[in-house]
């Protein structure tokens, strides 16, 4: 088959790791949830939202008619957008009866009119057909605009009857099955995202919903009847939207809901868990991981001490495995932030975290290795000396391997640890353990590495070690050769052993007529 269909990625089909991952830095927003109080201090990141939207309006999109040209050659030309996968019969034009403006009717009649307008806005238009219902689309847009302003400034409009209508209107508009991705394997780093065609309406609906949730008259005790688990579940599914503008609004919406509805908090965390687990172990595809991690960053920040078992499990069984995902670079900054948040809460978690990272250490992807090293440095920056002692051996065995990586960026990133004063002080305290682990690699690189910059860095590290513990250093230098020989001898013995075992298998296999499986 020459061209592949952009068929959706089967759930059970794991994709092979591919070496990609330039680090895209973005700053996680840091706001805090206090565990048991309603967070009035929550500030949405309006600035970042603006930045996102303006970035997204620059002409994006890719021309993918040509399946052959390399990704880097494909150039964006025309803007491409896609409407949500709405499965409904289309047909006759939609008619809405224009209603008077809210400000033009006397105050007592406003709540009634407000409800009517909400009901009208439940009508959803087909934006892929750019010519249909133009007038009505414009009418709905202006109505939504009016509603946004109205919830922001008006008082006394939020009657109890309004809650179900608001939630219904929002649900009708935002909840939909997301359309299939246009590219076979959407690569968020290379490919332009598909933009939501109905954004002119959708944006206003989101804007309205956020204002509604933020409104001073908003009462969670009434709203919780309508904003329930099912609502939240559908909201979370939307984080897979390819449109970054939508994900940004969703982030704020979910944040508000997490803040205001205490009863939904555990549920939200659990569903996010499920999304992440599916992402890691089943599909490797979910667009909103970074956004969800951003929210989690602030949730973790608000965890009460001591940490519940549920939270620790989340760290070890969900956050750590997230490191294995191919597209790590897209959310690594947010992930590392969450990890460090956990460690600042409970230093005793350092050991399982570092052991987890070592277990999943990338074997072939150098870019990812650099990210791991970066994260490890962030962890070491906050590590307690007692914790450091617990993991120093496996940790420095890995660092020793990184230092001798033929990829100079990996080696360089690892060697930079020696520029970090706090890490240096930890190494110095434990030089008797660390130096023997590091010595052989450093010694070898100082003679063999192809990159002069690395050799120079290694030279400095060796010099530092010499100053720290000169007796041990001299000893190691003196025994370097004999140690290598001993290693070689051991290696030979291993080979011998396996050879003997192999012979044995052969004899047995022959005797028992091939019962032995191979």
């Amino acid at each position: 088959m020459l061209f592949n269909l952009p068929v959706f990625i089967h759930l059970y089909e794991r994709l092979n790791s591919r070496n990609d991952g330039r680090c895209r830095t973005s700053n996680p927003i840091h706001y805090v949830f206090q565990t048991d109080q309603s967070p009035s201090s929550l500030e949405p990141n309006r600035a970042s939202r603006r930045a996102m939207s303006s970035a997204a309006t620059t002409p994006p999109s890719v021309d993918k008619v040509d399946g052959f040209s390399r990704k880097s050659v494909r150039k964006a030309k025309q803007k491409r957008s896609q409407s949500s996968s709405q499965f409904r019969s289309q047909g006759k034009p939609i008619e809405l009866t224009p209603l008077p403006l809210l400000k033009d009717v006397p105050a007592p009649e406003q709540p009634e009119l407000f409800l009517k307008k909400l009901q009208q806005c439940c009508t959803v238009f087909d934006f892929m057909d750019t010519l249909s219902d133009l007038k009505m689309k414009e009418y709905k847009r202006s109505t939504l605009n009016e509603l946004v302003d109205y919830v922001t400034v008006s008082r006394g409009y939020l009657t109890e009857q309004a809650y179900p209508e608001v939630v219904k209107m929002v649900s009708y508009n935002i909840f939909r099955t997301l359309p299939p991705s246009d590219s076979n394997e959407f690569d968020p780093e290379e490919d332009e995202p598909t933009l939501e065609a109905s954004w002119p309406h959708l944006q206003l609906v989101y804007e309205f919903f956020i204002r509604f949730l933020e409104s001073q008259e908003f009462q969670p005790s009434i709203a919780k009847k309508y904003i329930d688990q099912k609502f939240v579940l559908q909201l979370l599914e939307l984080f897979d939207s390819e449109d970054p503008r939508e994900r940004d609004y969703l982030k704020t919406v979910l944040h508000r809901i997490y803040g205001k509805f205490l009863g939904l908090r555990a549920f939200i965390r659990k569903q996010i868990n499920n999304i992440f687990l599916r992402f890691v172990y089943e599909t490797e595809h979910f667009n909103g991981v970074a956004e969800l991690l951003e929210i989690l960053g602030s949730i973790i920040n608000g965890f009460a001490l001591p940490l519940k078992a549920e939270h620790k499990q989340f760290l070890v069984k969900v956050l750590i495995p997230l490191h294995t995902v191919r597209s790590l670079s897209l959310f690594h900054a947010q992930l590392a932030y969450c990890i460090v948040q956990f460690l600042e809460k409970d230093p005793a978690l350092t050991e399982p975290v570092i052991r987890g990272l070592l277990k999943f250490w990338p074997k072939t992807c150098s870019q990812k290795e650099v990210m791991y090293l970066g994260e490890l440095e962030e962890i070491l920056d906050v590590i307690e000396p007692t914790q450091f002692v617990k993991i120093q051996e496996p940790l420095f065995k890995q660092i020793s391997r990184c230092v001798s990586s033929p990829h100079f960026q990996v080696a360089e990133r690892a060697l930079y640890y020696w520029n970090n004063e706090y890490i240096m002080s930890l190494i110095e305290e434990n030089s008797s353990v660390i130096l023997p682990i590091m010595f052989a690699s450093l010694y070898r690189i100082s003679k063999e590495h192809w990159n002069p910059a690395i050799v120079a860095l290694v030279y400095n590290v060796l010099k530092a070690f010499m100053e720290m513990n000169s007796t041990l250093f001299d000893e190691l230098t003196a025994t370097y050769k004999s140690d290598r020989q001993r290693e070689k001898k051991k290696e030979k013995e291993r080979e011998e052993l396996w050879k003997k075992l192999g012979d044995l298998e052969l004899k047995r296999g022959l005797r028992s007529d091939g019962i032995i499986p191979t």
């Binding site: 099955t177 687990l277 298998e505």
Partner: protein, 595 residues
């Protein structure tokens, strides 16, 4: 080390290989070494003997399982083949503890492998052991805390169900029911994916009472990833039930799935359409599936349309014979017509890959009247893949109406593809040339296509030149040596004087592949002189290719030509200043035994 000490080692007293040494290997710091050791675990077990494998090695493996997933994967696989190494079926249950832990790890690949091994060794358990050892393990997994063990349990129910007592059976059914409504979607997905398999081992009454309700519930799950798996199960379930029950038990759910609000579910229905069609039988197909299929062909998502388009031929073939033609003509054809001008190239190309198959079903007259215009439209499609798919399936039409009907439109399409800017498109059409040549006949070929074939020889992409030489060989095999001598050979040999050395090399490559097909006479008389002359080429690459060519065509030549003409030239090349030329000349002398 003699034989007897091996045996004593296996018997357990003063052993030759202390387990510590072997375990050291399994614990080696280097992952690669650890992995190698695990892959040779059977060897280690052999060295230890069956008893110590049971009492020492397996407990060690069970207790210390915390390793990289790659090592665990190898371990899970090994243990599935361990029955003989622990002493045969009566001891096979010793393998359960390590496999149980492996069935709870996070990594899906490891877990799946552990389940696979468990399924394998379940067959080696006696019915008693199955109830005493295996079934309790399944229960433990099914009620595990973390979702991973519950997921693994889903795959184990069906292997023990048929061989246990009816009380245990009832328990197993209960566990499966619980997992189908688990609150983590991962477990529901696992259960849904095993639903069909489980249904197959259940007694029909329980299929009707238990499975159907589970099926209905999973098919209306809140997550589309669960619903779509129920579609797969639908195929198995429908084929288990008697025809008269299908309408009430399965069809409501299937209808709902075909109109699901999530395109993924509809895609799944389209993708499994042929299987569904077979499972529900001709009557339901006529009444229900035909309209459903029409809807899928008109779906709003291209993904769904192309999955459905791919099934058009199979669907039509499997329609009940008495009404097949009517259904196609009245219901399907109009959808097909629309798909020809679909907005998505993937849909069009999916259609193009099957549309030709309809001609055999509809017969000559209908093909000429209804399908031909569609073929022609697709031959002119803007997307090269669509055109290629049509061309690659020409043989179906050829059988029904003969290719002449198409040839007028075919030619421009072929020429355009032959000159496409993308080399992969050119490559694809070259690969169809021998097929086309066979169907269009030698005259048409000489008249219209020969020039194209020759033009590819001087394409600027090597892969095309290479494919073009290969194509020439196949053509000669088809049309014979005489045809080659008259039409191809002169042109190929003419390129030997081309100023571009790449083209001169192409001559050599062509000779390499043509000599055998052309036979000794043509090779000696026409090709050999040209090759020999090229040994004086000023470009070293041409010279060493001369040496390679001589080596290649040597077997076709007679010994006289070899000795008098080839040998001197190779000997001269063997003293060339260029080391590659020297090497290949010497190689040729050696292979042709001319030294």
């Amino acid at each position: 080390m003699n034989q007897s000490s091996f045996i004593s080692g296996a018997d357990g007293d003063d052993s030759l290989y202390p387990i510590a040494v072997l375990i050291d290997e399994l614990r080696n710091e280097d992952v690669q070494l650890r992995l190698n050791s695990i892959k040779k675990l059977s060897t280690i077990a052999l060295a230890l003997g069956v008893e110590r494998t049971r009492t020492e090695l397996l407990p060690f493996l069970t207790d210390t399982i915390y390793d990289e997933d790659e090592v665990l994967l190898a371990l899970a696989e090994q243990l599935g083949n361990f029955t003989m190494l622990v002493g045969g079926p009566e001891y096979v249950h010793c393998l359960l503890p390590p496999l149980e832990s492996l069935a709870t790890v996070e990594e899906t690949v490891v877990r799946d492998k552990a389940v696979e091994s468990l399924r394998k060794i379940s067959q080696e358990h006696s019915p008693v052991d199955l109830e005493v050892h295996f079934e309790p393990l399944v229960k433990r997994l099914a009620s595990g805390d973390w979702f991973t063990s519950r997921t693994s349990a889903c795959g184990l129910f069906s292997v023990c169900y048929p061989r246990v007592s009816s009380t245990v059976k009832a328990e197993i059914r209960q566990h499966f029911r619980t997992l189908c409504s688990d609150d983590t979607p991962m477990v529901r997905r696992a259960a849904a994916s095993k639903l069909g398999e489980f249904a197959k081992v259940l007694e029909l009454d329980y299929v009707k009472s238990d499975i159907i309700s589970l099926f209905t519930a999973l098919a209306s799950d809140e997550q589309d990833s669960v619903r779509l798996l129920a579609v797969e199960a639908c195929v198995s379930i429908a084929s288990l039930l008697p025809q008269e029950d299908l309408e009430t038990l399965v069809m409501p759910t299937l209808r709902q799935a075909a109109e699901d609000k999530s395109w993924r579910v509809r895609y799944m229905v389209a993708d499994k359409f042929s299987e569904l069609q077979k499972a529900v039988g001709p009557e339901i197909t006529k009444n229900d599936l035909v309209p459903a299929f029409q809807n899928l062909l008109k779906d709003c998502e291209a993904e769904v349309r192309s999955a459905a388009a791919k099934k058009i031929k199979e669907f039509c073939e499997n329609l009940p014979e008495d009404s097949r033609e009517t259904i196609i003509m009245t219901h399907i054809l109009s959808c097909v017509k629309e798909l020809v001008s679909d907005t998505s190239q993937h849909v069009k190309s999916a259609l193009a890959s099957v549309i030709m198959g309809l001609s055999t079903i509809l017969g000559k007259d209908n093909t000429v009247e209804h399908l031909l215009p569609l073929f022609l439209a697709q031959l002119k499609d803007e997307c090269p893949e669509v055109r290629l798919n049509i061309i690659s399936n020409l043989d179906c039409v050829n059988e029904v109406i003969g290719i002449r009907q198409l040839s007028q439109s075919l030619l421009p399409a072929i020429v355009e593809l032959a000159e496409d800017a993308k080399w992969r498109v050119r490559l694809a059409i070259i690969e169809y040339m021998p097929l086309l040549a066979g169907q269009l006949g030698v005259e048409f070929f000489d008249e219209k296509l020969n020039t194209l074939c020759m033009a590819w020889l001087i394409d600027h992409v090597y892969a095309i030149r290479e494919a073009a030489t290969c194509n020439l060989m196949k053509l000669v095999e088809k049309f014979g040596a005489e045809w080659a001598q008259n039409t191809i050979v002169p042109k190929v040999l003419g390129m030997a004087n081309d100023p571009n050395y790449l083209h001169r090399m192409t001559t050599l490559f062509c000779i390499n592949s043509l000599s055998e097909a052309c036979g000794q006479d043509i090779t000696t008389k026409h090709m050999l002189p040209v090759v020999l002359k090229m040994s004086n080429d000023q470009v070293a690459n041409v010279r060493f290719n001369v040496a390679k060519s001589l080596q290649k065509i040597g077997p076709v030549l007679d010994s006289n030509a070899l000795q008098t003409e080839v040998k001197p030239v190779l000997e001269k090349l063997a003293t060339d200043t260029d080391m590659d030329v020297k090497y290949f000349a010497q190689e040729a002398i050696r292979v042709l035994a001319l030294a």
